[in-house]
């Protein structure tokens, strides 16, 4: 049969967290990038490393959307679900639309597993799946068959079964096997038996799909019209790590990254720890506070001091961020947000640290806050944060989140030399006799970043209030107020660095959707669709949360209705109301999962019809 051409496909693979789901997903992603499609991915894994096998709370998932068109989200509803066991089916079935394909590993559908997953009867037999196209494959048995003459234990053989499924998927969607074969060769270079086993199983799955009548045809997705260039796939956390390292290169300041492991930010530490050949220093501190303080210490010494964390860690770093505000030293803090408060939902995404980032310190303690909108933008946001922190000597917080940090997309690989050069001076600008550590640059209001080792400029800094002129400790009332204003003014002036805000759609209309951070894909896709339907809807996506873009009030003024979707109870809404004194309709989703395109679309339609309400929760 001829391949069926489709414009976009969304696949979700789900199974026990020990089934190799994330590996299957990342391999499929790499092959899909090579096949020339645009794509976006979303891994969804449990907090437990190896939850009891077969339970619903141990289910790990990986979703990818790929298309011949521009892809901005990992897709609302999967066209195909791969369920490695009854628990994976149980957890994910509710997300499927009628007619979707469900590939199940029938070998796992034993009475015990069904019971563990909470099925009262076998869904493969009782008609529960009648509205889906079910593909029953005894993956375990077929994998074992492919390996029967190899000296592998049953568990070793069992661990190969994800590659059998990957082989099937590669055939169904016409992906090349070679990138994964190359991966197997690299990974098992010193384990010939496992190299042979995984190679065989991948090919066996591929051959099975080709010969088995279960699969009528393959699906063809055209290459996407992507700008020419060299591309790679990368996650937001990898991108953030590269952005920090690139800023170090372009500023000539070695990167010192101090961090305490925390989900979902640890990958940044891990990625940077490998970058020693590039002069990157990493320090795994004893706790979150030590991490941020060590970064401040390195910054004091003239390095690019950076720390990374998630919400609970940011809470712990609070006092030290205030120290960097007071000492007026560069500091970058990357917060990969997760569900909170407290331990919350460690592996799930949320955007509820915005107000913590802006205001979570005692005293008048302004910092700059940036938010990347896509995994790839984690690179540019991290880079920009470093440049701003070093220029203004102010802490800059970058609000990524679990969805961006773990999600991936194709990224056009820049050359280092194409990135902006970051000019940083440590010159005191005067001879030692007249040196004043708090004499400011008239433009940026930054004080000189004089580092230890410069003879004649020895001076003391710290957390106590300083005299505006001499930098000596000062408890003077008027001086304190002047310094409070000065520190605020310094951050306010950073607004000069913000480029003109781009508006998706018309410059005016019936409704403006304002978003920030990882909701970009869902909002943009929904607004494009609504405009195609003739609705006068536009969208603005904020990358700068403090200071806000200076042109924002003017843009907001041109729309009678403003809708702000965010994964919290309305933190940006709150901020905008305070900033521009306008009614804002908030649209909250706090489920540890990103917005679907359809959710945004329906909410916009409701609002246009006047059904939203001022707070619209």
């Amino acid at each position: 049969m001829e391949p069926l051409e489709v414009s976009a496909v969304t696949i979700r693979v789900a199974g026990d967290s020990g089934d190799g789901i994330q590996l299957t997903g990342s391999q499929f992603t790499a092959s899909t990038g090579l096949a020339g499609n645009d794509l976006a991915t979303f891994p969804d894994y449990p907090a437990e490393i190896r939850a009891p096998a077969g339970t619903t709370y141990g289910v790990s998932g990986y979703q990818i959307q790929f298309s011949g068109l521009d892809v901005l989200t990992p897709g609302d509803d999967p066209d195909m679900l791969v369920a490695f066991n009854p628990a994976a089916l149980k957890v994910n079935l509710k997300d499927l639309r009628p007619g979707a394909a469900v590939l199940v590993n029938t070998d796992a559908f034993t009475d015990a597993n069904l019971k563990k997953a909470g099925w009262s009867a076998d869904p493969l037999k009782d008609g529960s799946l009648s509205s889906y196209r079910v593909l029953e494959v005894p993956v375990g048995m077929l994998t074992a068959n492919a390996l029967k003459d190899l000296a592998l234990s049953a568990p070793q053989a069992g661990r190969c079964k994800n590659f059998f499924v990957l082989g099937i998927l590669y055939w169904l969607y016409e992906r090349p096997l070679e990138p994964t074969l190359a991966f197997i060769r690299r990974t098992f270079a010193k384990k010939p038996l496992l190299l042979e086993a995984n190679t065989r199983v991948l090919q066996a799955g591929n051959a099975f799909a080709e010969t088995e009548e279960l699969f009528e045809r393959t699906y063809r997705v055209r290459k996407a019209p992507i700008a020419p260039g060299t591309y790679r796939n990368l996650t937001g956390n990898e991108a953030a790590a590269l952005g920090l390292a690139a800023a170090a290169e372009r500023s000539g300041h070695p990167l010192f990254y101090a961090s305490y492991p925390i989900t979902p930010a640890s990958e940044i530490l891990q990625a940077l720890a490998k970058m020693k050949p590039y002069g990157v220093r990493t320090f795994q501190a004893e706790d979150e506070i030590a991490a941020v303080v060590a970064a401040i210490g390195a910054s004091y010494g003239g390095h690019l001091g950076v720390t990374g964390t998630s919400g609970p860690g940011l809470a712990l770093k609070t006092e030290a961020v205030g120290l960097a505000v007071m000492a007026e030293l560069p500091l970058v803090v990357v917060d990969v947000q997760r569900g909170g408060p407290s331990t919350g939902l460690p592996t799930k995404t949320e955007q509820a640290d915005l107000l913590q980032a802006l205001f979570g310190r005692h005293g008048e303690s302004p910092v700059c806050v940036l938010a990347p909108a896509t995994p790839g933008e984690c690179f540019s946001s991290a880079f920009e944060a470093c440049a701003l922190a070093m220029k203004y000597r102010v802490p800059v917080l970058v609000l990524s989140d679990g969805y961006l940090g773990n999600g991936s997309e194709p990224w056009k690989v820049p050359k280092l030399a194409e990135l902006p050069k970051i000019d940083v001076s440590h010159e005191p600008g005067c001879p030692p006799e007249s040196f004043l550590p708090y004499r400011r640059d008239p433009e940026t209001l930054a004080r000189p970043w004089v580092v230890p080792g410069m003879p004649g400029f020895e001076h003391r800094i710290g957390g106590l209030e300083k005299d505006a002129a001499t930098g000596q400790v000062s408890y003077d009332a008027e001086n304190h107020e002047a310094m409070v204003h000065l520190r605020a003014e310094k951050v306010a002036r950073m607004a000069r660095e913000i480029p003109a805000t781009s508006v998706l759609g018309g410059p005016d209309g019936d409704l403006l959707v304002v978003g920030w951070g990882s909701t970009y894909g869902a909002i943009t896709t929904a607004v494009r669709a609504l405009r195609a339907e003739g609705k006068k809807v536009s969208a603005v996506h904020l990358r700068h949360l403090n200071p806000l873009p200076p042109d924002l009030p003017g843009i907001l003024k041109r729309f009678p209705k403003i809708l702000v979707p965010e994964m919290n109870l309305g933190q940006l809404s709150w901020l905008l109301r305070a900033h521009i004194l306008r009614p804002i309709e908030g649209f909250s989703k706090v489920q540890g999962r990103p917005f679907k395109v359809s959710e945004i679309r329906e909410r916009v339609l409701q609002s246009l019809a006047g059904e939203g309400g001022a707070d619209g929760r």
Binding site: L242, A246, G297, V413, K415
Partner: protein
């Protein structure tokens, strides 16, 4: 005694008259110019507390940080800038209570920093609450019925963390303090010096015996490498092993042959025994309990960087491209 003018800052010292901190400041100001390190290469780092005002009074680079966090500030600085001589000044509250976690990790990691821990067994800057080294039952403003928590031994803690340099000194014991500070400065690694320091306002006399110049030799055990453990104004008492434990013996004339010989490079177990010696059964040891040559954190970090970079400048564009790219034309 005139402090080297080049190291004394112009800032007016704001400790209470009679505070033990003055003597320690003088000792440090005397020591620094003799170390052969240019003034601009010193950085004095502190947290919060009376002792933490120290950096303002030294004409070097200085950073007065936040409560308990001097050690990570110093660790980050030293790892970034191994060329600097980094000193931490802390106290029993700052270093052992709010910052206790950082101290123990610095001691095990061994960054090349000098930690002067001023122990006055009281919270001075907050005006007289008990500290982690206050004696059990001590009546203070926050313990009107006496404390109910047992005190911590800074040197036992240090040794439990495998400290590479652990020493004790007394604020008004000039020659002893000078000698110990010099050894600390010369040590490669984290050098912890507990300095018994009198808070004249909130805990005066906490170390009355150790500070009384007329009779303190009866209460101090001065540790000198290669010398037997002998003390007493008349040098008539010493320590020896008995049934696996130290005991005090009196003697006249030459010290008996079975007295313990001090060796600061000796076993951890020996140093740990010294750290537990305390009045009333034993004298208070002062001097260097342990000094071990162990690679430093900053040295190891530098070595890893050097080894990783040995192949020549790495191509950053390759890092940006990652393991797998594809071309779109």
């Amino acid at each position: 005694m005139a402090a080297e003018p080049g190291f004394k800052s112009r800032e007016g010292v704001r400790w209470c008259p009679g505070c033990g901190d003055y003597a320690i400041l003088s000792a440090v100001l005397r020591l620094l110019p003799t170390l052969g390190i240019p003034r601009e290469k010193f950085a004095f780092i502190s947290g919060i507390g009376c002792s933490s005002r120290f950096p303002y009074y030294v004409e070097t680079y200085g950073f007065h940080g936040i409560h308990g966090r001097a050690i990570p500030l110093a660790t980050g600085l030293k790892c970034a800038r191994p060329d600097l001589s980094v000193w931490v000044v802390t106290g029993d509250g700052d270093g052992l209570s709010i910052g206790g976690n950082h101290l123990l990790h610095a001691l095990r990691r061994n960054p090349d920093i000098k930690v002067l821990l001023f122990n006055n067994r009281i919270y001075g800057l907050t005006k007289g609450q008990y500290s982690p080294t206050s004696e059990l039952g001590k009546v203070t403003k926050s313990s009107p019925f006496g404390t109910i928590d047992r005190p911590l031994s800074p040197l036992s803690l240090a040794l439990a963390c495998d400290a590479t340099f652990a020493a004790r000194a007394v604020d008004n014991d000039g020659p002893g303090l000078n000698a110990i500070l010099r050894r600390a400065a010369e040590h490669r690694g984290t050098a912890l010096v507990e300095i018994l320091q009198n808070c004249v306002v909130f805990n005066d006399g906490a170390f009355a015996a150790e500070e009384d110049k007329t009779r303190r030799e009866d209460f101090l055990l001065r540790l000198e490498a290669g010398q037997p453990l002998v003390f007493g104004t008349a040098r008539d008492r010493g320590l020896r092993w008995k049934d696996g434990r130290p005991e005090v013996v009196r003697f006249s004339g030459e010290p008996p042959a079975d007295l313990i010989l001090h060796d600061d490079k000796s076993s951890w177990e020996y140093a740990a025994m010294l750290a537990r010696l305390a009045p009333p059964d034993f004298p208070t040891p002062v001097g260097i309990l342990r000094c071990a040559a162990v690679p430093t954190l900053d040295g190891l970090m530098d070595r890893q960087l050097a080894e990783a970079g040995a192949a020549g400048p790495a191509d950053f564009d390759r890092l940006l491209a990652g393991p797998l790219t594809w071309e779109v034309r």
